[in-house]
């Protein structure tokens, strides 16, 4: 199989003269790199606190679009469109988050004759509306989670409904989420007491006691399929990603292939994903999310109408650069491959590196990154939006970087990820690196037994390993050595001082114990 990844080199394709990247952080950097590889000049936009950010440094042009608050900068559609016109950018890549799935923005771009590198506004609107897309999918024969579509009048109706859905069922509050009013009912005898308790809880939480029933998905896995659709009706999928390792519904570790899929199930889910994109009139890159239960039944959840955070695992196992493809599709190109050309090779895992303190309930940790040592080595990819000395502002998503590894098989990929995490140092702010080490080396993870309950089940109250006496002694030795160099530097400098530039010379004096 030969993939023609960069047709520009082979035939004349009119690509964009310039692309504006309407995002920040690691994803803006990722997109700028893709543009550079395709020889397309880039425009970065940034908020007032992001002047020193990496994406600003990397782009060919950079324009400040407003104050720190995203609503006044990265979400300011008219300002971004104005900058696109002013700089002559023909297309806008929205990345993920911010304006990526905003159909108003997509429509505004269409009106302004700027190409939005993403789906058309109609498709975006459809998949963005949970209720409408659920109805559309149900009509098209796509499996959705069975459940009631309205509030029941009385208990007998609920009883009949539960029987129809089949046990176990879940009671959910109509008034809101967050687990309030939620009850799992595994047999008919439990239904009445659970309903009463659920309604009481819903009443006190939301002031509304109405509840509805939904099929309870046991040991659910989150499995999604990456799709690509060109503007000429061609749709392919690039296989699955398993994203079951989540915390507070936020994915933290993703991988492909999923351990829960065999060839037959992969084929069926892949075909279903393609159908979802087709019935939505979708184009460009998109991801179809499913829940997969323990009996291997899958249910459509939603379409993520954007480039996903976890897209690199797909890139490493298929050899397709998804950002290049997004740009080619947006410029009117046909997909350069058919479904049968695409194969998965090896195994890839991604860990998201967040600015959060896993030892104190994942509190956000902003501030200055004093030092970063990026992990390197065969099969290691690091998509990163930070550098030594940069500031992590309080205003945006806490994702700092993504560490992705590829290896011939899953076992080796787990090993490689653990080594890479051990080789990864970020000092100055708290990150999730240590936590992730324990996640990827957990026996249940190594065994591929990953469900969306994994973190709650095994990592509730995680505190990490205790620090060892030996490490403490080494830290003290290093600290004393550092202080010693600092004092001798003051007296004219030791040999080592001449070799190394010395930021510590400018620091305040450290009191020494001895006189």
């Amino acid at each position: 199989m030969e993939l023609r990844m960069l047709p520009r080199l082979e035939k004349d394709i009119i690509l964009f003269k310039k692309i504006l990247v309407a995002n920040r952080g690691e994803i803006a950097v990722r997109i700028i790199k893709a543009c550079q590889e395709m020889s397309i000049p880039t425009v970065a936009v940034y908020s007032e606190v992001d002047r020193n950010s990496l994406h600003v440094q990397m782009a060919d042009e950079a324009v400040c679009i407003g104050p720190a608050a995203a609503i006044e900068s990265y979400l300011n559609m008219e300002r971004i469109i104005q900058v696109a016109h002013q700089t002559g950018a023909e297309a806008i890549h929205p990345g993920y988050g911010f304006l990526a799935e905003n159909s108003d923005f997509s429509r505004r771009c269409e009106e302004e004759k700027i190409v939005f590198i993403g789906p058309n506004s109609r498709a975006l609107e459809l998949v963005g509306d949970k209720v409408r897309s659920r109805q559309t999918m149900e009509k098209a024969g796509i499996p959705i989670i069975p459940g009631m579509k309205r509030i029941a009048k009385d208990f007998s109706e609920l009883e009949a409904e539960a029987k129809k859905i089949s046990y176990p069922v879940m009671i959910k509050a109509s008034g809101g989420g967050g687990g309030k009013g939620m009850r799992i009912v595994s047999n008919p005898g439990e239904l009445k007491p659970s309903l009463e308790a659920g309604m009481r809880e819903a009443k006190s939480a939301f002031g509304d006691e109405s509840v509805y029933l939904e099929k309870y998905i046991e040991e659910p896995r989150h499995v999604e399929f990456q799709g690509l659709a060109d503007n000429h009706g061609n749709v392919v999928h690039l296989f699955e990603r398993e994203c079951s390792i989540q915390r507070r519904h936020q994915k933290i570790v993703e991988e492909t292939p999923s351990q829960a899929l065999d060839t037959e199930l992969r084929f069926r889910m892949g075909e279903t994903a393609k159908k979802v994109l087709q019935v939505s009139g979708y184009n460009n890159a998109g991801t179809v999310e499913f829940l997969l239960d323990k009996d291997k039944n899958f249910y459509f959840l939603e379409v993520n109408a954007r480039l996903q955070v976890e897209h690199p695992v797909t890139e490493l196992t298929t050899g397709v650069d998804l950002v290049h493809q997004q740009i080619l599709i947006a410029s009117g190109e046909k997909l350069p491959f058919k479904q049968e050309d695409l194969k998965q090779r090896g195994h890839a895992i991604e860990c998201r590196i967040y600015a959060e303190d896993p030892r104190s309930n994942f509190l956000p940790s902003s501030g200055k990154i004093l030092f970063i040592k990026e992990p390197k080595g065969p099969g290691v990819r690091h998509d990163c939006g930070i550098y030594s000395g940069c500031d992590v502002p309080i205003y945006y998503d806490p994702i700092l970087a993504k560490l992705i590894v590829w290896a011939e098989n899953r076992r080796m990929a787990c090993q490689r990820m653990l080594r890479a995490l051990e080789d990864y140092v970020i000092l100055g702010i708290k990150t999730t690196i240590d936590f992730l080490k324990d996640v990827v080396s957990h026996p249940q993870f190594e065994a591929g037994k990953t469900t969306t309950h994994f973190i709650k089940q095994y990592f509730d109250g995680w505190e990490g390993k205790e620090k060892t006496e030996e490490n403490l002694r080494l830290a003290l030795i290093a600290s004393a050595f550092d202080s010693l160099n600092q004092t001798s530097a003051g007296k004219g400098g030791a040999a080592v001082q001449k070799e190394v530039s010395s930021p510590w010379q400018t620091l305040g004096r450290w009191r020494l114990g001895g006189k």
């Binding site: 902003s366 309080i394 000092l427 100055g428 490490n471 080494l474 030795i477 550092d482």
Partner: protein, 168 residues
Amino acid sequence: MDFEFLVDSTLHKIFLEKKENVFIVSDGEKTFEADIRFISANAVSILIEGRSHLVYIAREKDKKYFYLDGQQFIVQEPSQERESFQAGEEKTKDAELLVKAPMPGKVIKINVSEKEEVRKNQTLAIVEAMKMENEIKSSIEGYVKKIFVSAGDLVDSERPLIELSLKK
């Protein structure tokens, strides 16, 4: 030379002295030789009895970070920390009464008003950072004495938000 450091708020001593090409190290129990050198401004290589260790360093105004083998040690100057230790005793008394921001962020909402009675675990305020809302809860039963901030304010870590008073 003897050194004193506060590591994660506990006082530790170590002796380190250069002798020809190596260093003599003593931690009070053992004395041994170590080959220590800077690899870069942020990395120290230590060889002890042929075993190789790499310690990463980062320096901030009043503290240094040391990292090795997946573990981070925050080292501070003893004198500074002693002062805050003394203040610390008073602080413990008042810690529950003075509610502070747990991290830098933006005050989204103040859920109580001055003189209002509060229950234990009642949400007093919501502070947001990095798109995450954090509920600040009361650890005591009492009254709201004073509110120092209002919705929309940017706060630093440890900034007092609300002062409570105990129920009589």
